[in-house]
């Protein structure tokens, strides 16, 4: 606590988190270009600074001094407020996350609930942007993002509910401490799978990037935005929500600041550990987004409602059973793992090429 003034303390902490968010966004944009570049057998940025490390800084300066256009037919206030409306929820997620066992802006008793509730609000910004731009692509993109984000909230909430049942708390600090030496990903692999799908959907990364689908909608809600407003709407919102959700996932599924072997080396190491775990999640996201094609809207919805939602309910049911009858922990792993295998089989079955691929082309040949 800085001084005795609660308000000053909160303000300083907020500033620190905001600075962190900006820094992380700068680093993430650079890392993404490098990482995706390597996947695509390219080098990524090389010329701006050594190994291109100043690239995202140059992009930011350029975007800030670029002309900020507003289409003549756009709805003025909605158009200008939409980036803020999209960014604030993404930033508000960071407020409730504990980065070590003793440091966060505010540690809420209902932290889990708060994060899930607030992160869904950025859809409002996208809809405002899509509506105000007076552009059909933007409108289609906004409608798609509304449908997608709201749908994916539901299985994610159920999966996290199942997890909260195991942890016995909604307080993020207590959830981390409840994990101890074995993180929840071991007991709840299905929950982690659903959470990852939801995180990809929330941040509009492939294969769930249909709101911004570049080859169809040219960028979706952000199509008419330029300059600083575009960078807030697109880069800041997307990357800071990606960062926030990764830290969140690292806290609740990967054991937070707990070393796997039960060491405790103080807050500095805890911070590093959190970031390493969050980076792992981010890298997984980037990897998926660089190699997967995009789903179609009906397939996306079908995946959510017909597959994720039932198995999430199943998970809650089994967790309840196990917790009530005080069965041992490995029963959690057993049920969750079995449900995950079932899910994977269903996905495989739905997209299986019935005719063997080689003979499909060659079958009728001479």
């Amino acid at each position: 606590m800085i001084g005795d003034n609660v308000w000053l303390d909160a303000f300083v902490r907020l500033l620190a988190v905001l600075g962190l968010a900006i820094l992380v966004v700068l680093i993430l944009t650079y890392v993404e270009r490098k990482f995706v570049g390597r996947i695509q057998m390219r080098l990524g940025p090389m010329r701006t600074g050594p190994y291109g490390i100043l690239q995202s800084l140059a992009d930011t300066v350029k975007l800030v001094v670029k002309e900020d256009l507003r289409p003549a037919s756009a709805d003025r206030w909605l158009f200008e407020l939409a980036p803020i409306a999209a960014f604030v929820p993404a930033f508000a997620v960071l407020v409730a996350l504990p980065f070590t066992d003793s440091w966060g802006v505010r540690v809420l008793n209902l932290g889990l609930f708060y994060v899930v509730a607030v992160s869904g609000l950025s859809v409002l910004g996208y809809i405002m942007a899509g509506w105000a731009s007076d552009n059909k692509y933007a409108l289609l993109g906004a409608m798609r993002s509304a449908a997608q984000l709201i749908s994916y909230e539901i299985p994610v909430v159920l999966a996290l509910l199942a997890l909260a049942m195991v942890a016995g708390s909604l307080n993020l600090v207590q959830i981390v401490e409840a994990q101890g030496r074995v993180p929840f990903i071991v007991w709840q692999p299905l929950g982690f799978f659903i959470f990852m799908a939801g995180m990809l959907a929330e941040t509009s990364r492939r294969p769930f990037d249909i709101p911004t689908a570049e080859s169809e909608l040219v960028g979706g809600p952000s199509i008419e935005y330029s300059g600083i407003r575009w960078s807030i709407l697109f880069a800041f919102t997307e990357y800071s929500s990606m960062f926030g959700l990764s830290v969140f996932g690292a806290l609740i599924f990967l054991g937070g600041w707990n070393w796997p072997l039960g060491l405790d080396l103080g807050w500095w190491w805890q911070l590093i550990l959190i970031f390493v775990k969050a980076t792992l999640l981010i890298m997984a996201t980037l990897w998926m987004s660089a190699t997967f094609p995009r789903l179609r809207i009906d397939q996306l919805m079908g995946f959510c409602w017909k597959l994720l939602l039932p198995v999430a309910f199943l998970q809650i049911f089994f967790n309840g059973l196990i917790l009530v009858y005080k069965w041992p922990d490995w029963a959690l792993l057993l049920t969750s793992g079995a449900a995950l295998v079932l899910t994977a089989f269903l996905i495989y079955d739905a997209t299986r090429v019935r005719v063997p691929v080689r003979s499909a082309a060659r079958g009728v040949t001479s």
Partner: protein, 375 residues
């Protein structure tokens, strides 16, 4: 008081204008989609944004000068387009082509078919939403073949290397080794693309059953090439009316069953393997030395009056050159029957009833080249 009769909810169709500048239109194609929610209920294609008069200009150029315009018309498979054009002149003027030149032409044309299909793999997967990864894979392999073309012809894209009666100059000394190396490399590249896309769950989900067209309709619309073969008809002009020396090679004609986007993709993938086979056979059979142009080709080429419709199997389908000569050293009329133009006609038939996202996939699966559509 009576309850008013309930009305159905009124929905508004909106027209979405895709193109001419749009990342998925492969150039400057434009289509206007009438959509109801996410479903396409009507599609109006607009072309002509790249209409630059290759036919008209060819009428004002020497027979040999017009070869350059063929390159620029079909810029993804320029060797194939040149091949068809010079064969039309040869048929009309009665020029015999030396053996060695035939082999060089066939090797280059088949390799160009592979580069064109690589381009398709990249562009098609990008339409589906892969973030450029398949594109870079395809282009890496394409560059290897492009390097070979550059060594032979001196240019990366607009080769201008074929001549009526043969080829412009002899190939480099290490041509055969280079071609063999490229073939080995291409086999690796094809399996890379195969592994990245063919069994990808999302890729299959996005392409299977999308843009299917029945065989009767396909023939009625005059489709040709992989789009037609994906419907199950086993036709290939290289087999049907063997031109040049294609009757000497052993190769399969891959066909599909459903005529959907996935089958088109598979047919193209298999065609690349078959092209490698043809090239490998051709390299083995190719004589090591010999003339590359017949002895008596006049400096100023004149065709006797007459007309010919020469057709060749290009990567995108049947490429036809309708050449009318009335004597003299210029074509009197040159009509290019471009496969993409004809295949594009069926776009509406394939797209209507699918989702907006599928419109892009169907367009990508036809594999159009705008230079050839608009000429």
């Amino acid at each position: 008081m009576t309850v008013e009769q309930e009305h159905e909810l009124d929905t508004l169709e909106i027209n979405v204008n895709v193109g001419p500048q749009h990342p998925a239109t492969h150039g400057v194609f434009r289509m206007v989609l009438a959509i109801d929610g996410e479903k396409v209920i009507d599609l109006v294609p607009h072309i002509g944004y790249l209409h630059r008069g290759a036919e008209k200009l060819s009428e004002n150029l020497d027979y040999r000068q017009a070869i350059g315009l063929q390159d620029r018309t079909e810029y993804l498979a320029a060797f194939n387009a040149e091949f068809c054009y010079v064969m039309a002149i040869e048929k009309l003027a009665g020029i015999e082509v030396p053996e060695r030149a035939e082999y060089i032409r066939v090797i280059l044309a088949e390799l160009n078919r592979i580069t064109s299909h690589y381009m398709f793999m990249g562009a098609f997967s990008t339409d589906i939403g892969v973030f450029g990864t398949a594109f870079t894979y395809g282009f890496r392999e394409r560059e290897y073949i492009q390097d070979l073309f550059e060594e032979v012809s001196g240019d990366r894209m607009m080769y201008g290397y074929f001549r009526p009666g043969g080829v412009a100059w002899d190939v480099p000394d290490n041509f055969k080794e280079r071609v063999r190396w490229v073939c080995r490399q291409t086999r690796v590249g094809i399996s890379d693309i195969d592994g990245l896309l063919t069994n990808n769950e999302v890729f299959v989900a996005r392409t299977r059953g999308i843009g299917a067209i029945s065989l009767e309709n396909a023939i009625d619309y005059g489709l040709s090439g992989p789009v037609l073969r994906a419907c199950g008809l086993k036709v290939d002009l290289r087999r049907e009316e063997p031109y040049s020396i294609y009757d000497r090679f052993d190769f399969d004609i891959p066909t599909g069953e459903r005529g959907d986007s996935f089958d088109r993709y598979l047919v193209r993938l298999e065609e690349m393997r078959q092209s490698v086979r043809i090239v490998e056979q051709a390299v083995e059979q190719m004589p090591d030395s010999g003339p590359i142009l017949p002895e008596k080709v006049p400096r100023r080429l004149r065709c006797p009056p007459g007309e010919v419709y020469m057709r060749a199997e290009n990567p995108r389908g049947e490429y036809g050159i309708y050449l009318v000569s009335k004597g003299g050293d210029k074509p009197y009329r040159l009509k290019i029957r471009s496969p993409s133009y004809c295949n594009l006609m069926a776009l509406k038939e394939m797209t209507v009833g699918h989702y907006v996202a599928d419109a892009v996939v169907v367009l990508g699966s036809i594999d159009i080249v705008l230079g050839e559509v608009d000429r």
